[in-house]
């Protein structure tokens, strides 16, 4: 059952002009990328920085419009929706960001930040029990809702960010370098947490990372990107055992699996 279908999307950015009379150079960040993601599945996207994987995340999240191609979530193209309907639809796909020190508003209590997606839905129910439930699901305590982000470590903050992302019980979680800023031991904890949540909630996860080791340990399928294009895609085991491309072999060597 396909949850997310990305259909030959491209995204180009106009770069600053180098010369007055010549047209501004154009960077094609994502170039005709296609893939599908089923419910409850984990797809890893690996590539070096500049390979277009974060742009892909922003396209999937509906933060940007593709210049070509379509992003279908549950058969619906988000870019066809009027702004209010898109905001309402966002409860079904959420995101975890790279930097746990930047993704929580320093002036807001944790409970406030975690409840934000609920407030966006303008529901009338008291968010407190849902916040407590979400915090406990990510291994924190309900009492942590009253504290400020600076009182937590990087790993704990990433747990808070995950709690915020799952509080609306989404079907898809986009994790853009979600463990890259963490220590290796904490990385493993967060990865285990994500896998547990996936089992518990039936989440589909789009896992974006530059680190093949991280992706390989968690994902069902892999997508290797370079320069905005997909170099190869397939089952994780198959890609790792028989990489079809030199670039994948380079990544493998770098990851020292």
């Amino acid at each position: 059952m396909t949850l997310l279908q990305v259909d030959s999307v491209s995204r180009r950015y106009r770069l600053p002009r180098r010369a007055l009379m010549r047209p501004a150079p154009v960077l094609t960040a994502v170039d005709g990328v296609s893939f599908t993601l089923a419910r409850g599945e984990t797809l890893g996207v690996v590539g070096e920085s500049g390979s277009g994987k974060s742009t892909l995340a922003r396209l999937v999240m509906g933060f940007e419009r593709p210049d070509a191609g379509r992003v279908l979530f549950d058969g619906q193209d988000n870019n066809d929706l009027p702004p209010a309907a898109l905001r309402a639809a966002r409860r079904r796909f959420q995101m975890v960001f790279q930097d746990p020190f930047g993704s929580l508003d320093p002036r807001r209590r944790v409970g406030w930040s975690v409840a934000e997606p609920l407030r966006a839905l303008k529901g009338t129910e008291d968010p407190a029990p849902r916040v407590a439930e979400a915090l406990e699901q990510v291994g924190l305590r309900a009492a942590h809702a009253g504290r400020y982000p600076h009182e937590f470590s990087g790993g704990q903050r990433q747990r808070i960010a995950i709690a915020r992302a799952i509080i609306t019980r989404p079907a898809l979680l986009v994790a853009d370098e979600a463990v890259s800023a963490l220590d290796v031991s904490v990385q493993a904890q967060i990865l285990n947490l994500l896998m547990d949540l996936q089992e518990e909630l039936g989440l589909a996860i789009l896992f974006i990372s530059h680190d093949l080791a991280v992706v390989a340990s968690t994902c069902d399928r892999l997508l290797v990107m370079q320069g905005g294009r997909v170099l190869e895609a397939g089952e994780t085991g198959a890609v790792l055992d028989a990489p079809g491309h030199d670039y994948t072999r380079t990544l493998l060597a770098a990851a020292r699996l």
Binding site: R87, F97, E116, P117, T168
Partner: protein, 273 residues
């Protein structure tokens, strides 16, 4: 944390001026407009602490009421200018595109207008009075706050927690209210403090020119202009209101500087190194 010297001195001077202004609401040594022509140019004494002016009015009482006028004008004008300017700055940052361009180019236009000249024009058209001074100063503050708040807001809009709020489905207005405004409060408050100093100076200048407070309502600026013709006869009449202006302006300037020093992370790092 050690309190910087400029912050401490500025806060002390501002507290002094504000205290005097507040006290004048309930008590002055004499009614500030009471004439006592027989007792004009009186030297300082136990009855008239700083003496009297050319009409025998008590100098301390006039200075106190003038402090109240000055503070009221500054707070109202900067408050209005800050509210409107910050609102426009937030709108510019939230909408981007041509809205942002239009707001910022209009505020460039506002900057191109000499503030004092604009205030004189306004007074010439609508007549000299303190409310018109408030309007003039508020108006010239709008572009300043629009620029400061828009620059700060654009930085906050790039933070991950704002992206998270967008991912949560929050609209631009809600994000501006919940995330942007609280996180740009520090530079805006610093700017307000500095603009207080400017407003006090502009109010004094306009009153000096006869465009501000009208007699018998006292103002430091008008006291200066009245004392000007008597400079050789009674220099103290010019010295005291002059000192009051210096105290208030210096106090708010130092306070603003000090607040910026402790809230601007770039400067904090330099100091710590």
């Amino acid at each position: 944390m050690r309190v910087p010297f400029n912050l401490a001195l500025g806060a002390a001077l501002v507290a002094l001026v504000l205290a005097v202004a507040l006290v004048s609401l309930v008590w002055t040594p004499h009614p500030h407009a009471a004439l006592d022509v027989a007792n004009k140019f009186a030297p300082p004494s136990a009855v008239h602490w700083l003496g009297t002016d050319q009409l025998g009015r008590d100098l301390v009482s006039q200075l106190m009421v003038a402090a109240r006028n000055s503070m009221a004008v500054a707070v109202l004008a900067v408050g209005i200018g800050c509210a409107l300017g910050t609102g426009l700055g937030l709108l510019a940052a939230a909408r981007g595109g041509w809205t942002e361009e239009a707001i910022m180019r209009l505020s460039d236009l506002g900057f191109a207008f000499p503030a004092l000249l604009f205030a004189i024009m306004l007074a010439a058209v609508f007549g000299p009075s303190l409310p018109n001074v408030v309007i003039a100063i508020a108006f010239i503050n709008i572009p300043t706050f629009a620029r400061v708040s828009r620059a700060a807001a654009n930085q906050v809009w790039r933070r991950d927690y704002v992206w998270a709020a967008r991912a949560a489905g929050m609209g631009r207005f809600a994000i501006s209210r919940d995330h942007i405004l609280p996180n740009i409060a520090a530079p805006v408050i610093v700017q307000m403090t500095i603009e207080f100093a400017v407003a006090i100076l502009v109010e004094a200048a306009l009153s000096y020119l006869g465009l501000g407070a009208q007699p018998p309502n006292p103002s430091w600026g008008r006291m200066l202009s009245e004392a000007q013709t008597l400079m050789y006869l009674a220099p103290q009449l010019a010295i005291w209101p002059g000192l009051c202006i210096v105290t208030a302006v210096l106090g708010f300037s130092l306070l603003g500087d000090g607040l910026r020093d402790i809230t601007d992370p770039r400067l904090t790092r330099v100091r710590a190194a």
